[in-house]
Point group: C2
Chain length 432, copies 2
């Protein structure tokens, strides 16, 4: 049995085929591949979440815009409490022709050329809150949501940051204080802060070549589409207490999805609302969002805080712009400014520098489940494993959102093509 969640979480695969393009974006376009089309779809075009076939490339390129059709989900609804916010447009025709050099390459590419190479499904760039660039490819349209995968972690981290700013969560407290079920687990004596920054020291392998790796059990526990025999975990919260400690918390950044789900659990216990309910209450019902979002849920109804959110391109841009503006949106302070400052100004780069990630992202750090470049622009980002990103460049007053369904389940492989492209736009906006 294949476990699709692996792919959501897998962010450390390395490969020499940096720009391998088989099949290409055009060849793998769902309008050509025709997965799940027809009444009923022919046998060779049927995919599902039970055996993981829906998450294999290129079927993935269809599934990212249809996750709810494959599994149980819970809505994050806009609820019509505020009218839909309409962006102002100030389309800049020069962006397509901006050039950049991919990391480790001698080639020069235009911004437009880079988009199919990274299997972009949608990309939107805001400059000072106005849309200067917006494109849709593949299966995505302005009226569809897309799986953001690990971008979800940054949303979970933001919610925790809000609860901390409001005094509902004390980040210095131990995990066991909020979740007694985790007292005897590897998380028990970690602080909430260490969970938020992913510096917990736990025995938890995401080595997909090892059939005994813990990630398989986590994946199975959270998959609502498979049977859970009695005595086995029925969902995430049945599994997490089984994780044991390995080392000292706080030393090294270790990017493990289970931290996000522990944080989601702390959020639920301390606030009385799941991440899905809070996302709706705090953001989706208050910001003039266009589309209802949703989370995939496990068999116990728990939203997947580590990777299960789905939303529209423009709504993610609204979220990103609110973060860029310190939590303010159209004159309303949606979340406390301290909650954003703790993301942008908090933390230390040392645990990150000790991790394997320092090689590909030198000088970066990780705070409240956001990735911080610590570059001169102060850029920071949310990152999904198939190339999804909310990239915020404060100096350039830019928010860039990209939705993608790359064949490569690894930002390590995607960064060389995407980060220099984002920087090229920022530099252009800065007049460099």
């Amino acid at each position: 049995m294949k476990h699709f969640l692996l792919l959501i979480m897998c962010a450390s695969i390395t490969s020499t085929h940096l720009f391998a393009q088989t099949p290409t974006a055009e060849e793998s376009n769902p309008k050509r591949t025709k997965y799940m089309q027809g009444y009923p779809p022919p046998a060779d075009k049927r995919i599902n979440a039970r055996d993981g076939s829906f998450f294999e490339f290129p079927a993935l390129r269809y599934s990212v815009c249809h996750m709810r059709e494959f599994m149980p989900t819970i809505g994050v609804e806009r609820l019509n409490r505020t009218p839909v916010h309409c962006f102002e447009y100030n389309i800049d025709p020069n962006i397509d022709n901006l050039t950049f050099t991919p990391t480790g390459s001698n080639d020069t590419l235009t911004f437009a050329e880079s988009l199919p190479i990274n299997y972009t499904d949608g990309i939107l760039i805001l400059h000072r809150g106005k849309i200067i660039y917006e494109r849709y490819f593949g299966e995505l349209t302005p009226e569809r949501v897309h799986a953001v995968m690990s971008v979800t972690k940054s949303l979970t981290g933001t919610l925790a940051s809000v609860l901390a700013a409001e005094g509902i969560i004390d980040t210095a407290k131990l995990v066991a204080y909020y979740i007694p079920e985790l007292a005897n687990s590897g998380f028990g004596d970690a602080t909430v802060r260490q969970v938020m920054d992913m510096t917990t020291a736990i025995k938890y392998s995401e080595d997909y070549t090892d059939p005994e790796a813990e990630v398989w059990k986590f994946s199975a526990a959270g998959n609502a589409m498979i049977e859970h025999p009695e005595g086995t975990p029925q969902g995430y919260y049945d599994y997490l207490p089984q994780i044991v400690k390995d080392g000292e918390h706080g030393d090294i950044f270790g990017y493990r999805t289970v931290n996000s789900d522990v944080l989601g659990w702390i959020i639920a216990r301390s606030s009385g609302m799941t991440v899905a309910e809070l996302m709706q209450k705090v953001f989706w019902s208050r910001m003039g969002m266009e589309l209802d979002g949703y989370y995939q849920v496990d068999a116990l109804g728990t939203p997947f805080a580590g990777g299960g959110f789905n939303a529209g391109l423009r709504d993610l841009a609204r979220f990103g712009e609110m973060i860029r503006l310190g939590g303010s949106w159209r004159g309303v302070q949606i979340i406390p400014e301290e909650a954003v400052k703790d993301i942008t100004e908090g933390g230390s780069a040392a645990p990150f520098a000790r991790s394997t990630y320092a090689k590909g992202l030198p000088g970066w750090s990780y705070r409240n489940m956001w990735w911080k470049s610590n570059n001169e622009d102060g850029a920071f980002m949310a990152r999904g494993v198939h190339g999804q990103a909310i990239y915020i460049d404060p100096a350039a007053e830019m928010v860039l959102v990209r939705l993608a369904s790359s064949d490569k389940a690894s930002n390590t492989l995607l960064d060389p093509m995407s980060l220099p492209a984002y920087q090229a736009v920022a530099d252009y906006l800065l007049g460099k």
Copy 2:
């Protein structure tokens, strides 16, 4: 293994416990029973769609407002193409105190007293398009959708009626013309008209005490949450061709859900859109709906045309009012008037009179998957198995929508309490 779809389809159970009330509406209120509450829910409060526990009363009272959290679904979205329509209110305080006598009873009840007896979750009455009565109970709120179950059939029938009026479906043609896969099945030589009016003669038992009854196979085929071993149907359209003929088409009304799914198949093949896509295109994106609706889907992505729709109370009222007005809504002819006329004026009562339903609903008939009372008001209705209803009384200029989660999976048991209550309101509005 239990098969919840049975309960959706079961509409012919008889019992002598007409007003059995254990547990009561208040005792079974999800706020008291607390199914799926907690992080995670305790073992005795966990329910799911795989073993059918989510559909057992009283868990059902929770599940009807949370179907998407238990199974894959596809959205029927409002898409912000029109602003939300705001109803005018003209609340009539007299309605609660209207009295009526349940069929076969000597008691007199008030309208308000009847609501918990029938486990009403929400009820809304329009008079001349204005809301004169609106109540929410149990798990339902104005911001939640509710499973409408077999009300879905009438929506499917309406779509077919629209396609017929537009010349896209020829109701005189044989099913095999549209669906070659059904040529050798019991449906092959039935006309589309016979499918729409459920007068097909097929060997299809809905006898739930018979483990060999065909309904079990249909139910299993459509349940996305269970495994489908190779060689067994993976979805509705894999199963329907297996149904064989039994008798002569056209003679007798036989209320069998499979007709609705055959009709959904004909709709998809002839229009190139599933019932979910058409519902969105024709109604949900054009009528100022408040909430996105959705359909449950099988493992092949097929929306359950016989019982899988979920929608908000007010949006169903908007739909009902548009039907009452001959397909017109706020100055726009949403669907051809002929499509509505074919429901309200078409058909013959003879096949219904020959059926077992004639006893409980004397003088009624069935047309385009709507139930027609043929009473002096010309009332007709959509009916769901746990008491859901869209009841349209043209003479009284009334549209009544009720969402419910009764312990009794049978309108035969619910009609004695509900139909006289609806008539009491209609008579009051008519000044009788």
